[in-house]
Structures are given as C-alpha cells and as structure tokens.
Amino acid sequence: MFIHNRGLQQSAVALTLLGLVLMPSSVANAALGAHALTINAERAQAGAQMQSFKMPDHMRYELVLPNGGSVHEFANAAGDIFAVSWSGPGKPDLRTLLGGHFGRLQEASGVGRARMLRQPAQVNRADIQIQTGGHMGYFWGVAYLPSLAPAGFSTSSLK
C-alpha cells in the first residue's frame, strides 16, 4: 500500500454505475485477460470493497474481501486485465479471478509426488506467469500476462 498518495481517480460508486450500464450479465468473464468493466460484478459477488487508482501506464483496482484479504487487478490502457494478485487469510475465488487461465494453475498444482508433494504451484511460460505461496492461514499469489502489459511495465508494481 505504498501508492495511496497517487490519488483516488474514480470512486467505487462511479464504477458501480458504469457497471450497471455497461456490464454484460455474465460474470464468467470477470477475470485475468477480460475487460476491467467486469471487475465490479466480481466485487459484488465477493462482497468486497473496492478502490481504483490511475497509475501512469495502467489502472489499479484494489479489492478488500470480507475476511480482510486483498485482491489487486491491473488493467492496461485498453482496459484489459493483464495481472491479478491476491493475499490474505484463505484463498480467494481463483476460479473466477483467473478465468480461462485457472487450468494453468491446476496443471501446475498436480505435478508432485514424494519430494514435490507440497510445492507451491508456479507457472513460468512466455504467455503467462503464476507465482503462489503461503503458510497457515495466509496465502498469496500473482498471475501475469506479459503480452497484455503496458510497454516497459515493471512487475515490481504487481504487489
């Protein structure tokens, strides 16, 4: 939370109104790779609070879940969500959050026996990167689509 001083550009109320007017009814699209307009339906479904921030080359949406956990979503100038990150007690609804990319996480979760039984899932590919981790009652992760990120984007901004 080092960027609050960049200023709140749009209120959650304004986004709600936008969502009512423009949101397609399906929330199945609310996910990594989808348009940022889908985030509000996801927020409502999760019962989360949301703030959004205009950064120099992207929009940053911060959701606070009922259990205190965080979900951050990052959209490029065209409004495409190019990254999501999460942290907090318990895991958020990653099936919704990752959308069509959820399968990549699942493939990476089931690889291990014996020595690799309890390794956090990770994906390191040209089109998608996923890092996960955690401990008793606190989990974190980030999923990133490099091809949708703004030119010159630094992944250190993804916290």
Binding site: P66, N67, G68, S85, S87, P89, G90, K91, P92, D93, L94, R95, T96, L98, F102, L105, Q106, S109, G110, V111, G112, R113, A114, R115, M116, L117, R118, Q119, P120, A121, Q122, N124, Q129, Q131, T132, G133, G134, H135, M136, G137, Y138, F139, W140, G141, V142, Y144, T155, S156, S157, L158, K159
Partner: protein
C-alpha cells in the same frame, strides 16, 4: 451436547484404562556428578517420531510411491466413551505449520467410523470443513473422537474426516475455487492423516467466528450436501466448534511441543528416528533450555500467525517461518542454479555444497542464525531417503514476481535440533507464546 457430557464423564475411566499403555523411557540428560534419577513424568508426554517411506497404502499400485522427508507419529482414536472401539493409526504427519487433527476417512475402520458422531449445529445439520494447504485442499466432515497421543488424551475432540462419504462426498465450489488439487486418499496426502501443532489454539480463530473463511472454511451440511459457509466459534476449551490444536486441548502439557530430530548426513538416510515431547516447562523432561527464543506474530497480525523475519541476500523477508510439514527449504535466490531433471522441478542444484546464512529476527527484535548447508539433491543416494539441506525456488520467473517475502525453514532445519513451538496465549517455560525456540 449429551454426547460430549458423557464423554467428559467417562474420561477418568478412559485414562485409567489406558494408563498402562506404551511408555517410552525418559531420557533425561543431567550434568550433576551424582545424578539422582528424575521421577518419571506424571503423564507420558514423549512419543517417537519416524521419518520413513510412509504408510503401507502409499506404496500400493501403479501410482504408489515412497514418502520423502515427512515426520510421522502414531495416534489412537476411540468412539467417544469407548475403550474398546478404538484404532491406532500410524503415519500421521506431525506438522508445526498447521493446526488440527485430520484423518483420511478410508483409513478409519467402518465399525469405528460408524461410532464417530459428526458435529452438528443448532439446526441439527452436520458440519463440514474445507482446509487449504499451499497447493491442495482437503474437504470432509467434522467428527468427534476420544483422542490419545503418547499418554495425552482429549475426549471428544473434533477432527476432520478427509474425503468422507455420503453427505460429504461432493466438494463445495467455494472450497475448490481456491485452486490446487483435492486431497481424498492416502496417496493424495502422503500420509494417513496430519496432526497440526502450530502456534494457534484453533484452526481458524476469529475469522471463522465472524462467518468468514481463512485456510479453514466451515459449511452447513444438510443431507443434500454442503454449500453455505457458516460461522463457528473459536472456543479453546470444550465444547469446541472449530478444530482445536490437539496440544492446546490437552488437560495438561498444553502450552507447546518440542520436536527433536537427529542430524542427517548429506547422502541421506532410509529412516530417521526422533521424538516429540508435549508441554514446555511442565514436567521434568521438557524444560525450556533453548539458546534462541524467538517470538512470533499472533493471529491478529495482518500477515497471519506464526511468522518471523529472515534477512537473506540483503532482503528482509517478513513472512518467514519454521515448518516441520515443509519437506525442503523454500526461498528465492536467482543466483543459484536450478536442477534440470523433471523429477527435481524447481530444486536448487548447487555445483558444490553452499553455506547459506539467513539471519532470523523475532518480532521482539531478538536475532538468531538460520544458517544451513544447501546440498545438491543428486548427491542423495536414494530419492526417497530422508535428506537434509535441499532447497526449492518457489518462482522461477526472472526477475521474480513480487511476492518474494518468505523464507520457509522446512523440516531439514529441524535436523540436529530440538525445536520448541509455543502456542499463542499460553505461557511456556516462563515465556509468553507464540514463539519458536532452538
């Protein structure tokens, strides 16, 4: 409620019936010239820990395999109030990194399972639970059993019957939506069950009491199946609602544990034998003698309980922890070579043994060395042998994605040490928990 009251009333009978059970000799080290033998503990509080190839069922069939770096104990569960309808279950993972007793349901004999009541709510519906691990999740019923480990007993302890049938056969979508693989069988889990003896007194605490979910998610389970998430109170004494830390639920020796494992050679060892001792400073055999006593974060911490900091390569990693349930060290060091074999995905393969020196800092500022030797896994004789000093990189992306604030000191860090784990809110050896000490 009636069942619980009966069980409490019967506990003295159960204690009397079982007090002639197995008792390990008390190996007390003394420095006096003319030692006087310490009186044996009033309650047998020490138990063997074994690290081996795992339960028999793990190795059966074409998908069978041998366990790696798992510390196991043996427990006994009985039908509440019974001293005869009991089962002793081996190869239960002793995990300082989670909380609660969980048993793979098919491991429990049908006659005993039928006598283990499912916890119910005021509505009469049963209670189900989902519990999330870092790359997997377990779903099942919450049942009650009279529980014994070494000489320690808890009447009608709630435990999770993982992979339970009937009403509990279908995993709720909100449980699987967190991702990871479902744990249903011994081969999914690498064990017959797990006993979580981490730093909290229950497996969820205030978050589940407020009707939300943490690693634990509690469900309303009418006969049609489990779907709605429910609140469960965080009682730390009977009647429990959440799964308690079994150690916190003991009548005595309930402030923590001491896990003692021997040093293990680089080439590995087929079997490693250690001990777990219950209680800290409660009996003649569990004095707090550790050189390093390191206070940990509590349940109210924004980053979760049981944490300390590790400083590694100049970075302060605030979400670091000791965990007997992690099979290796997990940390990020982009300068170290990664193994190329598929079977060693994300393992570090240093060209020669490296001495690594993370500095551990407790929440009160106390520091301790977290140094260890990082070995190449190809130098271990047999891939299923217990092995020290193996490390895994949890993100191979370069540069690493930004959630790189953790150094997980897995079970190899416990080798050659006695590691104390003191429970939050309990005084242990004159010090307030939660802490780890070694």
């Amino acid at each position: 409620m009636l069942i619980k009251r009966l069980a409490v009333a019967l506990l003295p009978v159960l204690l009397a019936a079982c007090s002639g059970g197995a008792s390990a000799p008390n190996s007390q080290t003394t420095t006096t010239v003319t030692p006087t033998p310490s009186p044996p503990p009033a309650i047998v509080n020490t138990l063997a820990v074994v690290m081996d190839a795992g339960p028999a069922a793990l190795q059966v069939g074409t998908n069978g395999y041998s366990a790696f770096n798992e510390p196991y104990v043996t427990i006994t569960i009985c039908a509440p109030g019974s001293t005869t309808n009991c089962q002793t279950i081996d190869h239960i993972i002793l995990d300082t990194g989670s909380v609660g007793l969980r048993i793979i349901q098919p491991v429990i004999s049908p006659a005993l399972l039928a006598a283990l009541p499912v916890e119910t709510q005021a509505t009469g519906n049963g209670v189900g639970e989902c519990y999330q691990y870092v790359n997997s999740f377990a779903f099942g019923s919450v049942r009650q059993a009279d529980f014994q480990i070494a000489g320690e007993k808890v009447a009608s302890i709630p435990f999770q019957a993982i992979g339970d049938s009937g009403t509990y056969a279908n995993i709720p979508s909100t449980c699987s939506a967190g991702g990871g693989t479902p744990i249903k069988t011994v081969q999914d889990f690498g064990a017959n069950g797990i006993i979580g003896i981490g730093t909290t007194a229950t497996d969820c605490g205030a978050i589940c009491a407020a009707g939300n979910s943490s690693a634990a998610i509690y469900y309303d389970c009418p006969t049609t199946g489990c779907s709605a998430v429910i609140s469960r109170a965080a009682n730390v004494t009977a009647p429990f609602q959440q799964l308690p830390n079994p150690v916190a639920a003991f009548p005595q020796d309930n402030n923590g544990t001491i896990l003692t494992l021997p040093a293990v050679p680089q080439a590995g060892q087929v079997t490693v034998n250690g001990t777990v001792t219950f209680g800290i400073g409660t009996q003649s055999d569990n004095s707090l003698t550790a050189a390093n006593i390191l206070a940990l974060t509590t349940s109210t911490s924004r980053l979760g309980p049981g944490l300390l900091s590790a400083t590694y390569n100049g970075k302060v990693l605030t979400q670091s922890f000791l965990d007997s349930g992690s099979q290796e060290y997990f940390f990020i060091d982009t300068s170290l070579p990664i193994c190329t074999q598929t079977a060693l995905n994300a393992f570090y393969c240093p060209t020669s043994t490296l001495s690594l020196s993370p500095l551990i800092t407790a929440v009160d500022g106390t520091t301790a060395s977290g140094s260890f030797l990082l070995y190449n896994p190809n130098n271990v004789s047999n891939s299923s042998d217990v092995a020290p000093g193996l490390g895994v990189n949890p993100t191979l992306v370069k540069p690493p994605l930004p959630f790189a604030n953790s150094f997980d000191f897995g079970v190899p860090f416990f080798f050659g040490k006695s590691v104390y784990t003191a429970i939050e809110g309990r005084t242990a050896g004159g010090r307030q928990g939660p802490y780890v000490a070694f």
